[in-house]
Each structure stands twice: as structure tokens, then as C-alpha cells.
Symmetry: C2
Subunit: 287 residues, 2 copies
Amino acid sequence: MDIHTDPIEMQTLCRSIRRKGRTIGFVPTMGALHEGHFSLIRQARAVADICAVSIFVNPAQFGPSEDYAKYPRPFEKDCDAAGREGCDLLFAPKSSDMYPENYLTRVAVIDITSRLCGASRPGHFRGVTTIVLKLFNIVQPDYAVFGQKDAQQAIVIQRMIDDLHVPVTIVVAPTVREPGGLAVSSRNAYLTKSERDDVPRIYQALHLVEQAFEKGERSAQSLKSFLESRFAEARFFRPEYCEIVDTTLLKPLDHIKTTALVAVACRTTESGTRLIDNVVLGALKEE
Amino acid sequence: MDIHTDPIEMQTLCRSIRRKGRTIGFVPTMGALHEGHFSLIRQARAVADICAVSIFVNPAQFGPSEDYAKYPRPFEKDCDAAGREGCDLLFAPKSSDMYPENYLTRVAVIDITSRLCGASRPGHFRGVTTIVLKLFNIVQPDYAVFGQKDAQQAIVIQRMIDDLHVPVTIVVAPTVREPGGLAVSSRNAYLTKSERDDVPRIYQALHLVEQAFEKGERSAQSLKSFLESRFAEARFFRPEYCEIVDTTLLKPLDHIKTTALVAVACRTTESGTRLIDNVVLGALKEE
């Protein structure tokens, strides 16, 4: 596995790979790699000739009171893991090379970024779309793989790609879960013992909503009330939002006709960790 | 010359040209092609194998009280002229294909876009950077040619390219002028007879500033006062701004050390036409 830190060097290398007619599958990450990332890397390997992974804790997507400083950065361990999972090219730029002095450009998707996570994280998605477009221009991938766990992020990035005609195909990989159902996340490392015992309720409640939908319940209000009642029993977390929305514009639904995104964000009470999860109702199940 | 209106068709064609190892030189325009555009087309032909020109009157870069509706659109004449000047590929998309329903993405350069023309045209440069990035993703040019007449636009686009690592090289072509010195512009068509006789003063004054600089004057304030005194003699236009700024961040200068951009915008008194022009002090002269 080659490791590159210089954006221009990485861009030149990726261009030469493309010129040889080889395809690039790309997994942008903030490091602290876990089973979720590994599944994205495997997807990228499955669809393209060359697998590129970036590790960059992007300051532009953290709010001033968020966890940028304490976000885990186990770089050596990440390199070992990426190599083991079959990454060919690792890109780990310095912040000062991605945002040099006099950096002035912003890429923003409006409207759908003020809903769900965007409501409590102003500027977050603008930070995400800006860095993702920068990384796409450097790595020039044919495919980029994102996780379904960050459902809104995947929808926002797909919208940016469509709107700007970015020549990249997005692949969304299913959420990887622990045996109890908890979605795997780098931020799970912050959880206390009591919180860890309690937070599997998040997916358990989402799964019960899925089952109710499959049995025929189509009222978003009923499903939402059910979800909230389950969360009311939690001892070590509080929901920040529970929403049932359409999968394109993320607008709240009354009645579910075809598909819907059930998205939740919770904050734990001891460590203050923010966890998100979701299920898509009415989607074709993956094999 | 091939004419394409469908963005996906154009993108597919341009990708296949690039894959064959041929380079693309691109001139984005709003049509109403004149000698200024022809010089850009000739530049594009000189640096690349294939010359692509786009014609698109971009609604996103016009303010609500500006001339979007009346902007000239002589499409047939433009096609003839582009073909005659050696354009290989003409791209003329429909507005509904560039901004379909639910279009949500914005590309913005901050700070330098609120100065000079940006001060009186809020949102203008965001419209420009958004459409230019969209066009770059569709046409995938190796080179893109812009005119020095729109100096701030060229600086803003270069900043976007640097910040987002867009793999396109910008070529800035010198301003084409009428015999009396007036910068060639599509908006000159709006001018009344009296205005047309008066507006050559704009460049004449800029040229006198150039001469004063060449004779050793380095005080931006003195040069600016001189410029304003010349414009005070105009009968059919008023200056909107006269600024002497650095060529990167467009900040007003006191003392000119190496180079400076002298930029002016004027509004004519009869037709209300807005004209811009500029000279760069201290730059190496082109042959």
C-alpha cells in the first residue's frame, strides 16, 4: 500500500492510473477505522481496479463546540488496517495543505442540509460537501463508497454530484452493526459502560418500526409515536430527533406511499456522545 | 462543428475525447459573440487539440433587477461565428437541464467576491462559480480561457480552481478593444449614440494611469484621485467604483510595490448600461 500526504502528488498519481484505463474506487474517511469502514473498502475493491482510502479529520465539518480536538486519530493502526483490508492507495493530507492560508471556497447543498442532523449542526454538511468535492478532484475516482449509517450525508453528496455533474458514481453500503444491533461508529469509543448497555435500544426500536411497516402500518405519525415511546424508556440517552422523511428532499411524511427514511440522533447522558442511526422502509432488501 | 444541448451527451462525448488522449480547450460564454470571444476561441485552439465553446445565459448570475431577460441571444449568428472561428464542439444547454427542479447546490468563493463588482451585484459571483464548475465537470477541459476584461471573474475562478483542486488550467486572454479604446462587450449593444461617443474615456483614463505608473507614481491614492478627476468630466456615464487593489485578495492598496489591478465599473446615464474595464499595473507586457 502506498501512502501519500501531498495533494498534488496524489492527484498526479491518480490521473496516471486513470489514463492507463484502470478504475478507482474511493473511500473517504476520518480514520479511526472500524468494521463499517472495512465493509466500504471491500465494496470499493469489488467495483474498481484500484482501491483508494483517504484519512482526514476535516475541521470544516465540526462545529466550534464539537469533538474535533478529541476525535480519535490512531494513524499507525489505521494504516495497518487499511493495508490488511486491501487498500492500494492511502491519502492522508495535512490540514494546512487542504485549507492553506487564503482558502476561500465553499460548496453547499441548501435546504436538505438544514433538516435532521443539519438542524443541530449548522455548517456541518457544507464542510462535508466541500471536502468531498476537493477529495474527488484529487483522487478522480470512478466510484466512491459511503455508509448507509450516515444516510443524510449520502443523500446530500448524491445531490451535489447530480447538481454539479460530477463524474463519480456513488455506492452506498449497508450499515454494519454489533451483535446487539448498535451501528458501528468511531464515536462508540466515547461511551461509558452504562451507556453501552443502553444504546442497543436505538436500533432495536428502529427494527420494531421496520416490522410494524412490514405488517402494513403506513401512518408516519403512528410509527414515530411508537419510536418515541420506546426511546422514553432509555436511561442513558435522549433522542435529539426522530424523523420519518422522504428519501430525496428529506421532508417529513404523513403517509408512507413507497419508501421512507426513519432517522434518529441521540445524545448519551454521561459522556454526551452523539449517535445516529436509521432504517429505510420500503426499500428492496439486500441479499 | 457539432452542436450539443444535452449535458449527459456532451459529458460522454468529452470523456471519450479525453480517453483518446486528446486535449480540450474550453471557452464558456453567454453568447452574443464578438471579437473578445473570438480571441478566446483562438487561444483555446492554440493550446489544445479540440476547441469547445458553451453558450448559456446563466440566470443564476443575474440579480433580480438586472438584464437577464433582455440579454442578447442571437443563437444562429453565434453558431455561424463560432464555427468560422474554429470551434469544434458547441454546447448550448437549456436552462431546465442545467437547473432542474430540486436543484440545490451552490459553489461560492467568499471575501473577494464581495469587493469591486461583487459589492453591487450580490450573488453574481456565486452564480458564476457554480455554473463554471458545472460546465467544467461536463466538458472536462484541460484548459479554459477567460478574458482579462472580467478581471475579478478570472481571479475568482482561479481561486475556486486552486481551492477545490479542479484539474483545469486557466488561460487569461488580453482585453480586446475598439479603435478608440473601448473594451469590446456584448453590453455595448445597449449604448445610445451619445454614450458611445463618451465611454472611450473609460479606457483613456485607465491608460493615463498606466502611463503615470510607468513614469514612477506608486501612490494608489494619487492614481485613484487622478482617475476620478478624469471621470468627473464624463457627460454620459458615472463611475460605480474605481479601485486600485492587489491581484490576489483584491484589497485596496496604499502603495503599489509590485503589481496592482486598477478596476472600474461605470453606469451610463441614458440607457443605464453597466460597463467594466481594468488595467494591471506592473505586469509583464505581452508581446
